[in-house]
Amino acid sequence: MAFAVTTLIFAVVGIMVSLCTRICFNQGPSANLFHLTLVLTATTCCWMMWAIVYLAQMKPLIVPILSEGE
């Protein structure tokens, strides 16, 4: 559930940033497509990284074992 919500947040942020670049740097269709590609690639990369780390901790096979010193 939390996974879907955060993914949605990523999607929303990605779309917002795309719109912002569209509005702020409107330089013709080919430049806009270029900016869109950049934003989408960046969003995808960031989302993948987050998703990987999140999924890996969902059902951990090992648990944190505190060191003796603490």
């Binding site: 939390a2 955060t6 269709p29 080919s30 430049a31 497509l33 270029f34 590609t37 950049l38 690639t41 960046a42 990369c45 960031c46 993948m48 990284m49 987050w50 990987i52 780390v53 999140y54 999924l55 890996a56 901790q57 969902m58 059902k59 951990p60 096979l61 090992i62 648990v63 944190p64 074992i65 505190l66 060191s67 003796e68 603490e70």
Partner: protein, 819 residues
């Protein structure tokens, strides 16, 4: 047009493909040629082809002019040197006055000869001034010798006289008496020479003098406190004043020779005190005179240099422009009638209008009867690659170009590299504290961009400055991945939520043996802070980062193969789509795509399955039961299907393509289905068609071997490239371990001493280690590894990179060429 009409797979995107280029032919009347080229140079969108490649530089039409401008450039360099010596900096000119190049040449020559004469005079004066200065010193010092010697002699004489007067002393030996008497009677004429000798040579000088004259000299030396300027070399040297006394002409000749050999300057010197003081005043007067003359000369020279400095930039620009114009004119071929110049060159299609405009303006401005003829040529030659980059994208494009310039209209990896390059860097450099430091450095360069770009920087700073936007993106992504890894100078923070783990019971007895237990939802963003410093931290992070590397790698390699699809579609090469793109996709994803899937499934289900085992036995015994390693139902069937697909994909890649190419070739050759080229009588076109005929030769064995190599490379590469992405894990591990070592071993140890001095010392060491090792060296190594992953693992899937860059004839690019 020789090039294939392209059907794009996607709408045009900036930077994704080279600008469409065309080969232009311009026929320019000779009277307006110069102006035309000057306008085209201002425009800077036309790359001229050298039509006289077979001629040596001296045989060309404008060789004489080039030589002339070379001479002018030399003069300007001479001025620059002189200004540099005099400390006059060239000012950017304010008033824009048109200078004729011929007038300029005359002017430059005049100024140069004036300057040279001034320099020669100045040098002469300076030399004479230095000589006089030395002379004065000699006079003073040697005068002192004589003075002291005389006063001593007087004293002695007085003493002697007094002794004689008192007379009765019986001890007075007779001998002395006689000696003294003898002395005065047979006066030997002692000569002497005075001068200056460099201090380091003085000892040797003395010894040599002594030996050469068998000890029949008397040398007195006095050190000068301040170094004096040597008149000959013009350098400041430490010197000694010497006076050497000798007897006889022979000795004098010897001494003179020795002086010469040692570079000792001699000066005439009079014995009488009166004459000495007279000479001193004379020399001082002369010195004063010389000084004023020199000052006046210098002032005059400074004025001249200042006037040069005010104009220098403009002159130098003009000369460079003229030189480049004539250099380009030399590349044009002279028409048979000798009335026109024929130019050929590449230009982006979008610039057609601008080029035509420039031609028109040039014709009007030079009152030419006919304007230049503009014509688009059709050729099969590969056009240059031209991407319109800006200051942000150019550094990324530079990274790709240093691997290889994209073939004309090939898909440009830069589009995705702008994001993926800093991202992969950040995966290895995940620490938001370090990221912020990097961000500050990048911002410093970006804010002072205007100032820094105008001044000359040393190599390393220049490189960093050039890549400032790359560093900016790298630092932003590092901050992001730092939050994901939850590391701030290796310290975790509970920013987004409390940790998901708690002790099993209130006493927390088994926290160090059995470990904590997950009681809440998964930590929402990044790595749970509780892992930091636990005994199971490394096993957990290793497993996570290793799997992450593989998933990211498979994703990027898939992107690379998809780019190859874009290329195939763009060049309408269906063979590549069906027999390269599809089997490659299948092969990669049936092995490593499947591995990624398994990883994700394992995470989602929390299964205990051993993925190594699954992958290995997928090949060794695919029909065996998976047993406890089964992650989902139907896994065995899926594995069999994938394995089969992978095995089919290999011959699919290898075999059909060469045969199809052969068939295509035969079909083309049999029916002779060449679309006739548009016929123009240009010899070059005939040549280029000949060229392309040459390319049509089809060697089946060669094509087959090529395909074989390609296939083997891909199949082996799929494995080795995936393994290569594990460097993401290794470097990120190294980074976090190093930073935690610095934090714990340096900062915390220093803190433990409870001593301010040790704490400060520890802090200093920590800062230096962080900056030197983590921020500089680790940045460099992560940069290089990200570079490798892009150049090799990503680009070998689609990038040919055998094109050449578009180098337009442009005045704005002149500076770089010149220096």
């Amino acid at each position: 047009m020789g090039e294939v009409t392209h059907g794009g797979c996607c709408p045009p995107m900036d930077l994704f493909r080279s600008e469409p280029m065309q080969l232009l032919q311009l026929i320019i009347p000779i009277e307006s040629a110069h102006r035309t080229l000057s306008y085209l140079g201002d425009l800077g969108l036309l790359q001229f082809k050298d039509l006289n490649a077979d001629k040596s530089p001296f045989q060309r039409t404008y060789a004489a002019q080039i030589k002339r401008f070379g001479e002018m450039a030399r003069t300007l360099r001479f001025f620059k040197e002189q200004m540099l010596k005099a400390g006059v900096s060239p000012k950017s000119s304010v008033a824009h006055v048109d200078v004729n190049i011929d007038d300029l040449q005359v002017k430059l020559r005049e100024i140069e000869s004036e300057l040279i004469e001034m320099n020669a005079n100045g040098e002469k004066l300076q030399r004479s001034y230095n000589e006089h200065l030395e002379y004065k010193l000699v006079l003073q010092k040697a005068g002192e010798f004589f003075h002291t010697a005389q006063s001593r002699a007087l004293e002695q004489q007085r003493e002697y006289e007094s002794r004689q007067l008192t007379g009765e002393s019986m001890q007075t030996p007779l001998l002395q008496d006689q000696e003294l008497a003898g002395d005065s009677s047979k006066q030997v004429k002692l000569g002497f020479l005075a001068g200056l000798i460099p201090r380091e040579k003085s000892m040797v000088f003395e010894r040599i003098l002594f030996r050469a004259t068998r000890g029949n000299v008397f040398l007195r030396q006095a050190t000068l406190e301040d170094p004096v300027t040597d008149p000959v070399s013009g350098e400041k040297t430490e010197k000694n004043v010497f006076v050497v006394f000798y007897a006889g002409e022979k000795a004098k000749a010897k001494i003179l020779k020795i002086c010469e050999a040692f570079g000792a300057n001699r000066y005439p010197f009079a014995e009488e005190l009166g004459k000495q003081s007279q000479m001193i005043t004379e020399v001082s007067g002369k010195l004063l005179e010389l000084k004023t003359t020199i000052d006046a000369g210098l002032m005059h020279r400074d004025n001249l240099l200042n006037t040069i400095g005010a104009q220098f930039e403009r002159w130098s620009l003009l000369v460079r422009k003229e030189k480049s114009i004539h250099h380009t004119l030399n590349m044009l071929s002279l028409d048979v009638t000798k009335k026109c110049l024929v130019a050929e060159g590449w230009s982006p299609v979008f610039a057609t209008k601008q080029v035509q405009d420039a031609l028109q303006r040039a014709a009007v401005d030079s009152n030419s009867q006919v304007s230049a003829i503009f014509q688009v040529l059709h050729t099969r030659e590969l056009p240059p690659t031209y991407f319109r980059t800006n200051k942000v994208t150019s550094s990324f494009q530079g990274i790709i170009d240093s691997y290889g310039v994209a073939k004309y209209q090939e898909a440009n990896p830069t589009v995705y590299s702008i994001v993926t390059f800093p991202f992969l860097f950040a995966v290895m450099f995940g620490d938001w504290g370090h990221g912020i430091c990097l961000l500050l450095a990048a911002l410093y360069f970006i804010i002072r961009e205007k100032k820094l770009s105008s001044q000359k920087l040393d190599d390393i700073t220049d490189m960093t400055f050039g890549g400032r936007y790359v560093i900016l993106l790298m630092s932003l992504f590092s901050i992001y991945t730092g939050f994901i890894y939850n590391e701030f100078f290796s310290l975790p923070f509970e920013i987004f939520a409390p940790s998901a783990y708690e002790c099993r019971d209130l006493s927390c007895r088994d926290a160090t043996t059995a470990g904590l237990i997950k009681v809440r939802d998964t930590y929402p963003f990044g790595v749970d802070p509780v892992w930091h410093g636990t005994r199971s931290e490394l096993p957990f992070l290793n497993s996570l980062k290793m799997k992450m590397s593989i998933i990211l790698g498979v994703a990027q390699m898939n992107l690379g193969i998809i780019m190859s699809y874009c290329n195939a579609k763009f060049f309408q090469n269906n063979v590549n789509v069906w027999f390269q793109f599809i089997p490659q996709m299948i092969f990669l994803n049936s092995l490593f795509g499947y591995l990624s899937l398994l990883i994700i499934v394992k995470w989602c289900t929390g299964s205990q399955a051993d993925l190594y085992h699954v992958m290995i036995y997928m090949f060794l015994s695919p029909t065996d039961d998976l047993g406890e390693n089964q992650l989902f139902v139907g896994q065995k069937t899926l594995q069999l299907v994938l394995l089969l697909l992978a095995f089919v994909a290999v011959p699919w890649m290898l075999l059909p393509k060469p045969f199809i190419l052969k068939k295509q070739h035969e079909a083309r050759h049999g029916v002779e289905s060449y679309t006739p080229l548009q016929t123009t009588e240009e010899s070059l076109q005939v040549e280029s068609t000949h060229d392309s005929h040459g390319h049509e030769e089809f060697e089946f064995s060669e094509v087959f071997v090529h395909q074989l190599i390609h296939t083997i490379e891909f199949v082996l590469g799929a494995v080795s490239n995936t393994a290569s992405y594990l460097r993401l894990w290794a470097l990120s591990l190294a980074h976090s371990e190093l930073s935690s070592v610095f934090y714990e071993k340096v900062l915390l140890t220093a803190w433990g001493y409870n001593n301010v001095i040790i704490l400060i010392l520890g802090l200093v060491v920590f800062i230096f280690a962080t900056v030197g090792v983590l921020l500089v060296m680790e940045t460099l190594s992560a940069f290089l590894h990200a570079l490798r992953l892009h150049w090799v693992e990503y680009q070998n899937k689609f990038y040919e990179g055998d094109g050449y860059n578009f180098h337009p004839f442009s005045f704005s690019l002149l500076d770089e060429d010149e220096e």
